[in-house]
């Protein structure tokens, strides 16, 4: 049934339909509405057989989740931004222990400078932590992918992050078809853990492994992610059979077959890009990556094999080198002559405008792009700060100086 609801609310309903047994909640913008809604569902009795725990930090949120998952309970939590970094040690631990926890990430930037708005730096900081990372385009997909996430996690005994753009999705109200309980129960069986803490059958979990076996254990973690490359599309098919909706599997493509140029991206920005593409005449296709981990090398290579150039548009970057997604895409295209451009945009919530995209598309088809482009970068402001640093030893806070120069605050510009 279609409902006009906030993305976060849709996610909380989807999670509740999956019958989680333990939910750990810690507030951090912009995922907070999800755990708030779940709290109300548990407290009102609408979500039964579920322990809702208000913890004291994100580190505790995921740690409590590790304990409950290891003891056989279907476990859910949500986080974002600084919270993701605060729980980093537990993020690696959960995947190392093979615990099928599902966690929503309301994608947000990472400080300093502190910034609450959307980009994807938080999920990217944990891209090598051994979790499956699924990025969603819209709130319908957010709902659908959460339901699939539990199934994928439990089938592989691996944790899954469902990454949804903060505010753009978490706080957007749109029509969402929230499935009914019967359908979800048919799709998602109850959780049977691969190993469990049980007094009747005592085992030791989480002990040390030395150099004699560590490589093999890590290799198998890698292998398991490769298995997920097959499983994610399979579960998407099963989902389609029951719910009648296609979440796209590993990647989704739009007009890539006869385009010379393809924009590659992930998350909600694909909607913006598609709209902007529809408004212009260049023959440009688009590809969005649903599964960032495991990274679908083959699927991307095969989808892009006939194109001349790829523009990877991403809301994150690795300081000191450039695009993160772009480098992964380059690996998928290695050995080909396809040119890969990196465009970094939308950092810390900066709007990605139609005007800028149209210019970008024009430049791209003419190969008029540098390897790395920062979309809408205010070069004069940057130059000014660089000059200031050169001239003054105690030049002050970069963040403050830039903000003054940009002139959004009613303050005198610094010298």
């Amino acid at each position: 049934m279609l409902k006009q609801i906030e993305g976060s609310h849709g996610v909380s309903e989807a999670v509740a339909l999956c019958r989680p047994e333990v939910i750990c909640a810690y507030p951090i913008t912009p995922q907070t509405h999800i755990v708030e809604d779940l709290g109300a569902l548990v407290k009102s009795g609408k979500l039964e057989n579920c322990e809702y725990i208000n913890v004291e930090s994100e580190f505790a949120a995921l740690s409590v989740g590790i304990g409950s998952s290891a003891a056989g309970a279907r476990t859910y939590t949500a986080t974002a931004s600084q919270g993701m970094l605060f729980m980093a040690e537990a993020v690696y631990n959960a995947s190392g222990l093979g615990l099928p926890i599902v966690m929503t990430v309301g994608n947000r930037s990472i400080g300093a400078p502190i910034n609450i708005w959307n980009d994807q730096s938080d999920s990217m900081s944990m891209r090598d932590a051994g979790w499956i990372q699924l990025f969603v385009e819209d709130n319908q997909q957010a709902v659908d992918i959460h339901i699939q996430a539990f199934k994928i996690a439990e089938a592989l005994s691996l944790p899954v992050m469902v990454c949804m753009d903060g505010f753009i999705l978490t706080h957007a109200i749109e029509g969402i078809d929230v499935p009914d309980q019967k359908q979800v129960d048919k799709f998602l069986p109850s959780f049977t853990p691969r190993q469990i803490l049980d007094p009747e059958n005592p085992i030791s979990i989480g002990a040390m492994v030395g150099p004699e076996a560590f490589t093999e254990v890590r290799y198998l973690a890698h292998q398991k992610q490769k298995e997920a490359l097959k499983l994610i599309p399979k579960i998407n098919e099963e989902f389609k059979q029951i719910f009648g909706r296609d979440s796209g599997g590993l990647i989704s493509t739009f007009n890539v077959e006869d385009a010379d140029t393809v924009i590659v991206t992930l998350g909600s920005v694909i909607g913006t890009i598609q709209e902007a593409l529809d408004e212009q005449d260049e023959n440009i296709g688009a590809l969005t990556i649903r599964s960032f981990r495991p990274f679908p090398l083959e699927a991307i290579r095969s989808a892009l094999k006939n194109v001349k150039r790829v523009v990877v548009f991403e809301k994150c970057f690795a300081v000191g080198i450039g695009g993160i997604v772009a480098n992964n895409v380059r690996m998928a295209l290695s050995g080909t002559n396809i040119e890969v451009y990196e465009v970094i945009g939308g950092l810390g919530g900066r709007p990605i405008t139609r005007k800028s995209l149209h210019k970008l598309f024009k430049d791209a088809v003419k190969d008029n792009l540098e390897t790395v482009t920062f979309l809408d970068l205010k070069k004069d402001v940057v130059e000014r700060e660089l000059k200031r640093e050169k001239e003054l030893l105690q030049s002050g806070s970069v963040a403050e100086n830039v903000l003054r120069d940009v002139g959004v605050v009613n303050a005198a510009k610094t010298t």
Binding site: V55, G67, S68, S69, G72, P199, S204
Partner: protein
């Protein structure tokens, strides 16, 4: 105290043979059907106090719960010496996750047991003093504050022994550690630093808090028994000498634990809901020097009158604060 106290002063020692007690009052360790939860074959150092403390505490908890205990362990000596895969000394279900999250792991397991209707299964989280009073402190306080149904046991050997004897917030003033060397005008760890986690636990007004020492088995087992008889957050800090970190002879482990209690250095007490409900009395206070002398970490302290009197003052204060001295009959 809930257990039968036997005074056996004639021998000049406080050790009491089990055979003098009613069968029901004998220690779990003395029974043939003890669970051996921490079984033989582990890699602890000779004379390890932590191995004794863990064995005493967990065996008692196992008896009190009909062998239905799940344990969560912080990173540290206890985790390392009991496990490296594929071996394990634990005969109960046991999990190690991280250094600083054992209380939260305990919370998660307890939540899972509750939701599955398995509240007969009880949860113990445990770690050393570093894992408890320092890096795990946030999670510990959170677990207390929510009154989660977890018994947390801190095996306190007063430092980071697993990483090579560094100072923790449980390291006493004057002690030599690798990060508080006995050099300069104030050798060893600084005085008037550190935290008293049993009292901090009491400030959370949780159902039960106790301190124990491996030298008195009856007292320790009675406290674990009491802890397992109540629900909610419980905290037990057990004093466990470390021959490696303290520079003491392995054979002195139990004796040092006894001297710590009898000098007033390690007060034994119980508290419920924020109030102290009992203390374990000392018959005769032993000068702290007797406790300090067998430990190389205090070698400079016993030669330094200022530091020695500072340690003595701490012991005297404990005696006053907890009214530890037994009324002379």
């Amino acid at each position: 105290m809930s257990h039968q106290q036997v005074k056996f002063y004639q021998t000049g020692t406080l050790t009491v043979g089990n055979r003098l007690l009613d069968a029901a009052q004998r220690t779990v360790q003395a029974t043939i059907d003890r669970s051996n939860s921490l079984d033989s074959g582990h890699r602890a150092c000779q004379g390890c106090g932590e191995a004794l403390g863990a064995r005493y505490a967990i065996d008692t908890a196992m008896r009190e719960t009909n062998n239905k205990v799940i344990a969560a362990n912080a990173t540290g000596c206890l985790e390392v010496f009991t496990t490296p895969y594929p071996e394990t000394s634990w005969t109960l279900p046991w999990i190690h996750s991280l250094f600083g999250n054992a209380p939260a792991i305990g919370t998660g397991i307890a939540a899972a047991m509750k939701v599955k209707g398995r509240e007969d299964v009880r949860v113990i989280a445990q770690g050393g003093d570093g894992g408890t009073t320092d890096i795990g402190f946030g999670c510990l306080s959170g677990m207390f504050e929510r009154n989660d149904d977890v018994l947390y046991i801190c095996y306190d050997n007063q430092g980071y022994m697993n990483t090579g004897v560094q100072r923790s917030s449980a390291t006493p003033g004057g002690a030599r550690t690798a990060t508080t060397m006995p050099v300069g005008p104030e050798p060893g760890a600084e005085f008037d630093k550190g935290k008293n986690v049993p009292l901090i636990a009491m400030a959370h007004e949780i159902p039960y808090v106790a301190t124990a020492s491996i030298d008195r088995l009856h007292d320790l087992e009675a406290k674990v028994k009491k802890a397992m008889s109540v629900r909610g957050a419980r905290y037990l800090q057990i004093f466990v000498p470390c021959p490696l970190g303290w520079g003491s002879a392995p054979a002195q482990t139990v004796n040092l634990a006894r001297l710590a209690v009898e000098s007033g250095i390690w007060p034994l007490f119980e508290g419920e809901y924020g109030e102290i409900t009992s203390v374990t009395n000392i018959r005769k206070q032993v000068p702290v020097e007797e406790y300090l002398k067998p430990q190389r970490r205090f070698a400079h302290v016993v030669k330094n009158p200022k530091q020695l009197s500072a340690v003595q003052a701490i012991a005297d204060r404990n005696i006053r604060k907890f009214s530890l001295l037994e009324e002379q009959e």
